[in-house]
Symmetry: C2
């Protein structure tokens, strides 16, 4: 029988996050480690700015944790840019074995999941994972150059300018104790301006497999977060999962719905992008578990795996959702 | 101290490979499981053709091995297309937990390496890795539409149309016994028509760390293969490594130099692409170890991590090289 979920015991020793101006002005603004008023992070192109986001997030992680490069056995990283260039360029300054990942907006949890599999399997003593997105590099690549001032549909989400980094190892009160990797799900949705609808069935699949496999239910968790389904996708997920016999109830939120004041900041259906779940999990979710305020949470990051070319060719959008269960535990 | 290399014990239970017309007409033509005379694999676009390469490679792997989808705990896959779309679209038909990878042309060995870490760490019982490239989708995306008939420089390599798939588990006489993950190396090369030169320093770094870490030397191995340094890069690597005190000697070859009759097929510096090391390793290298003809080989796949955008912005090309040691062992 296929392994559907994993029992793990990996500590999230430290997190770091770096965001742009609008994320800093959002409801979680005070929790991010660093932000840049200009979103350019001192660089001349948006692509270089995104690499710099990655570099700063990982540098901050090293600084905060007190570790040096040579203490880290592996670096797992990814982003949304073509050829995952933000990660390779941003992290080329560090002498650490490098594994490039691509999971679209699920990359942050893909990294947490693979990293904790490597650590819990005693293959590495300590590893780190970094992921990012930048609104301006993403708009340019996926939609239109910013200068066009293109209109956005009500279901459109706003790509977060942000990066999150996580240090995984033996220590830490916030511990990854279970994980459930996603299966690629394609329900035939082909509207790239409604990625929430494309990704909701993937979150549904992962959550149902996890609840059934572990014989748990939504109310067993203090909080359940999806990555960036946004307003549209999270409504869909809540409806779809009811038909499967689970009630997400009031414990459920979406990182894309937490990062902005959607109305006041004109963000339509909420935030999205690899940097969304990454920065919100690093700055807000893990710290609340570390402090013991939440004892047991699920984070399910979702990714829409289309490319601009596949969309232009009329293809539907495959999606994937990776899940980790993070628990508060006293250090032993 | 940072972990530089790993002791592992994972069997390559089965391999499968699918290639295009010109690869079939090359010196290894008879060894690939399947080829298509038209390179289109029955699809209407080159991108869909590449997804079909992935689907066929993995289907063939399942058929040859006798396993069913539900016997495979994880699928690790990647390619060169923007947003790694070939993998996600090609493998969405299989109900298997999916981890997307991006290591440019090093992806095949990145998959073997991560897969064998998951297996040797007893996290999965069995997993598979698939990677691909397609000459026509790659030319379109990285260089010019084929219809332009653009001229190629003498140092240019030819992106292989091919996919390789590997089944990792307990069994198999060809076993991954050691591995050394690559560090991102950027020596300032910025000519995208000479990727061999950009990637050779990464292969050098990985090989030197591995030889020194394991206290071995090139002559301890029956054969040493790089992924796709081509004529230019493999000459550079041989020179550079001599200065480090190692002599690769006659045991050294490059997958990019094996797949075509370079002169007769007008392939300039040789083959490249995720599908190069993947298909050559699946069809030629692993079977020679399985049969016992070679007892101990190294495969070092190299990846150039630039994007067309980073090249246009004048950036240099970061590269990475992942290594696995594959040994012949009687089944226990």
């Amino acid at each position: 029988m296929q392994k559907q979920w994993y029992e793990l015991n990996t500590g999230i020793e430290m997190t770091a996050s770096v965001v742009g101006k609008q994320e800093h002005e959002g409801p979680l603004g005070a929790f991010f480690d660093m932000y840049d008023e200009t979103d350019s992070f001192g660089k001349k192109t948006w692509e270089q700015a995104e690499s710099e986001l990655q570099r700063r997030a990982f540098s901050t992680l090293l600084l905060k944790s007190g570790y040096r490069e040579e203490d880290i056995d592996a670096l797992l990283a990814g982003d949304l840019l073509n050829q995952c260039a933000a990660s390779a360029y941003g992290l080329r300054f560090f002498g650490i074995p490098y594994f490039g990942l691509y999971g679209a907006c699920s990359t942050s949890v893909e990294g947490l999941l693979l990293g904790s599999l490597l650590h819990s399997g005693k293959m590495v003593k300590r590893c780190a994972t970094v992921s990012s997105s930048h609104n301006c590099s993403a708009e340019k690549q996926y939609r239109f150059p910013l200068e066009y001032g293109a209109q956005r549909t009500p279901t459109a989400q706003w790509t977060v300018t942000g990066a999150g980094a996580f240090l995984l190892g033996d220590k830490g009160k916030a511990r990854i104790r279970r994980a459930c990797p996603g299966i690629v799900i394609d329900m035939g949705i082909n509207d790239p301006n409604n990625m929430g609808a494309a990704m909701a069935p993937a979150a549904l699949d992962t959550l149902c497999r996890f609840f059934r496999g572990t014989d748990t239910k939504p109310s067993d968790y203090d909080k359940i977060f999806t990555g960036d389904l946004g307003a549209e996708g999270s409504r869909l997920l809540s409806d779809l999962i009811t038909a499967e016999g689970f009630d997400l109830g009031d414990n459920y939120s979406d990182c894309g719905m937490l990062i902005y004041y959607n109305k006041a900041q004109d963000k339509h259906a909420g935030g999205s992008g690899c940097g969304c779940a990454a920065s919100v999990t690093a700055a807000h979710l893990v710290p609340k578990v570390q402090s013991g305020e939440w004892k047991r949470i699920l984070v399910v990051a979702t990714g829409a795996m289309m490319s601009p070319t596949s969309v232009m060719q009329g293809e539907s959008i495959p999606a994937v959702a990776h899940l980790v269960e993070i628990r508060y535990e006293e250090e032993h």
